[in-house]
């Protein structure tokens, strides 16, 4: 079963929920799909080993063959190719690697080469068997989605898979949560939390992914998130209080279930509940 943990708003506790759920269940696969800012391993502290580079294909123009006809410049919808007086210039970060330029080149002057935009790393815990795959986008690179797609090729569907998604509701989130059997939306009971939760809900509804809500720092703010969930018949799976001890453990990179073991029971119970809700029981 694939469980995605998403949120809309950043900093609501996606990684906290993903890590603590993973450690409470044990022997799961955890995918850190927040490839712009991967944080899961800060809490696991495992030794990461690089699995591979994630590459996109970019054009490589043979100057000898190119007659500057401009067909490639015109066909590129990402403005990645620009004509200079005596040559063509590629802006590699704008290139999506679609291959249109090499298709239209009448001289056969365009080949492709691979360009690395990030990495995939892996670690396995000796204690609980939790396997982490983490993607990381290189600094200055704009496109997160190819890394997320590459990460997801490592999913082992014989296991429970937890997917820590990036914040927001745009393309990287879609890449991360596509194919999930259940989506846990983490929010906080504030006006920002509620507003961004409502956007994330629109997304999971449109994608037809069964979903429920975890309210983090539940004693802050006001009742509006609770009321909203009740009115829209969205299950509230868990509430995590705004405790200084939890915040301190978080700041040190310690998953709170390790120091507050009674919480493990709550996470295991939440898992049982969402298996039922996903119709996977």
């Amino acid at each position: 079963m694939r469980i995605a943990v998403a949120s809309g708003k950043g900093g609501t506790g996606k990684t906290t929920v993903s890590i603590n759920l993973a450690l409470s269940l044990g022997n799961v696969q955890l995918l850190d799909c927040d490839v712009e800012e991967p944080n899961c391993n800060l809490f696991l502290n495992h030794e990461l080993k690089k699995v591979r580079d994630v590459v996109v294909r970019v054009p490589f123009i043979s100057k000898d063959k190119c007659d500057l006809c401009m067909k490639c410049v015109d066909i590129c919808r990402f403005n990645a190719l620009v004509k200079l007086p005596k040559s063509l210039m590629l802006f590699p970060k704008l290139c999506h690697g679609c291959g249109a330029c090499s298709i239209v080149c009448p001289q056969g002057a365009i080949n492709e080469k691979c360009r690395s935009i990030g990495t995939i790393e892996r670690s396995v815990s000796k204690n609980c068997g939790t396997e982490l795959y983490q993607g990381q986008l290189n600094i200055g690179e704009p496109m997160a989605s190819p890394i997320i797609h590459a990460l997801k090729t490592h999913i082992d569907d014989t296991r429970t898979v937890i997917i820590d998604s990036p914040p927001g509701t745009a393309c990287p989130v879609i890449s991360a949560i596509t194919g999930a059997d259940y989506c846990v939306l983490v929010t906080e009971p504030t006006p920002f939390g509620l507003h961004d939760l409502s956007l994330a809900l629109e997304l999971v509804k449109e994608m037809r992914i069964p979903h429920g809500v975890v309210i983090n720092r539940c004693d802050l703010g006001d009742e509006r998130v609770d009321r909203y969930c009740a009115e829209n018949s969205i299950p509230v799976l868990m509430k995590i209080p705004n405790e200084m001890k939890i915040a301190e453990l978080y700041s040190q990179g310690i998953p709170f279930v390790l120091q507050m073991p009674h919480w493990k029971v709550n996470f295991v119970e939440m898992f049982r509940q969402l298996q039922e809700l996903a119709g996977r029981c």
Partner: protein
């Protein structure tokens, strides 16, 4: 050209929008641009009245004309983004709009269609004009929309004789962040003293360095972990980055937010005082001075 400051953080939820709104209420004459387009929240505090709206068109999306299609499957094979299913259905969320399918279709059955991906609003608030946007759910043109919000903001600032734009940026380090910070005069980074906060700060500082943009740092919730706060200060000192302020963990931002107020409007105390001090330090940054002295 108006001067521009972008507020970012790497990690989400550190207080970007709270501080952007507070700065808006402290600035004399300012335009606010909300570039966190897929979780735009600042309007919840600024209570804007929209004066005009623009449609935002993202990349075009492929569309198959079933009458012409011979179901040869070449498009499925050649699409590098796996946006076309075996049943020849195009997933508009996945389609990147590259046009390869329409280029190679032997029946000319695929055309590229204009696709509305969001809206941009020009609004008025009690602190000055606000330009904000709404990206359609699951759209992929975040960076492009951010660039358009910034373009509209610059034009509007010039029209209204405003010489400062404050940009509320998105979390992360990818396309929306790059589009939010390119060419600005100062990046203001809000972090928190946690392992995640520090990790994400280090990465966004690499991004600002990569693009050669001056950055300053604020440590929010500094009393959650005093040791990590010292670590951040030490790290910034080594990197030559100014820490322009430290704010304690407080319930003031949330209380203010519940009443749609900035922290400056909500109270006149230690917290808002610290935000005010920070604002004065930011305005004294060389890259923001109106008449930069040139020797």
């Amino acid at each position: 050209m108006p001067k521009q400051i972008t507020v970012i953080s790497g990690k989400g939820g550190t207080g970007k929008t709270t501080l952007t709104a507070a700065f808006a209420s402290l600035a004399n004459k300012v335009l606010i641009a909300d570039c966190d387009v897929d979780a735009a929240d600042i309007h919840l505090i600024l209570d804007p009245i929209s004066t005009s709206k623009l449609d935002f068109y993202g990349m075009e999306v492929a569309s198959i004309n079933e009458d012409k299609c011979s179901a040869c499957g070449l498009c499925v094979e050649r699409c590098r983004f796996a946006a076309i299913s075996k049943e020849l259905v195009i997933d508009a969320h996945i389609c990147e709009g590259c046009g390869v399918c329409s280029l190679i279709c032997p029946e000319n059955a695929i055309i590229m269609k204009e696709h509305k991906a969001g809206e941009i609003f020009r609004s008025a608030t009690r602190f000055g004009p606000l330009v904000h946007a709404r990206l359609g759910i699951g759209e992929e043109t975040g960076g492009k929309l951010v660039s358009m919000v910034r373009k509209v903001s610059s034009e509007m600032a010039i029209e209204n004789d405003i010489d400062l734009i404050i940009i509320d940026g998105p979390p992360g380090t990818g396309c929306s962040v790059i589009a939010s910070i390119s060419g600005v005069d100062l990046v203001f980074i809000v972090t928190e003293p946690s392992v995640s906060g520090i990790h994400d700060l280090e990465r966004v500082l690499e991004v600002t360095a990569h693009f050669g943009i001056k950055a300053v740092v604020c440590i929010n919730k500094c009393n959650i972990n005093e040791e990590k706060t010292s670590d951040i200060e030490e790290f910034c000192k080594i990197k030559g980055i100014d820490v322009v302020g430290k704010l304690p963990l407080s319930d003031i931002p949330i209380k203010a937010m519940l009443g749609s107020q900035t922290v400056i409007e909500y109270e006149d105390g230690i917290f808002s005082g610290a935000v005010g001090d920070m604002w004065r330090k930011i305005m004294a940054c060389g890259t923001l001075m109106k008449n930069e002295t040139k020797f």
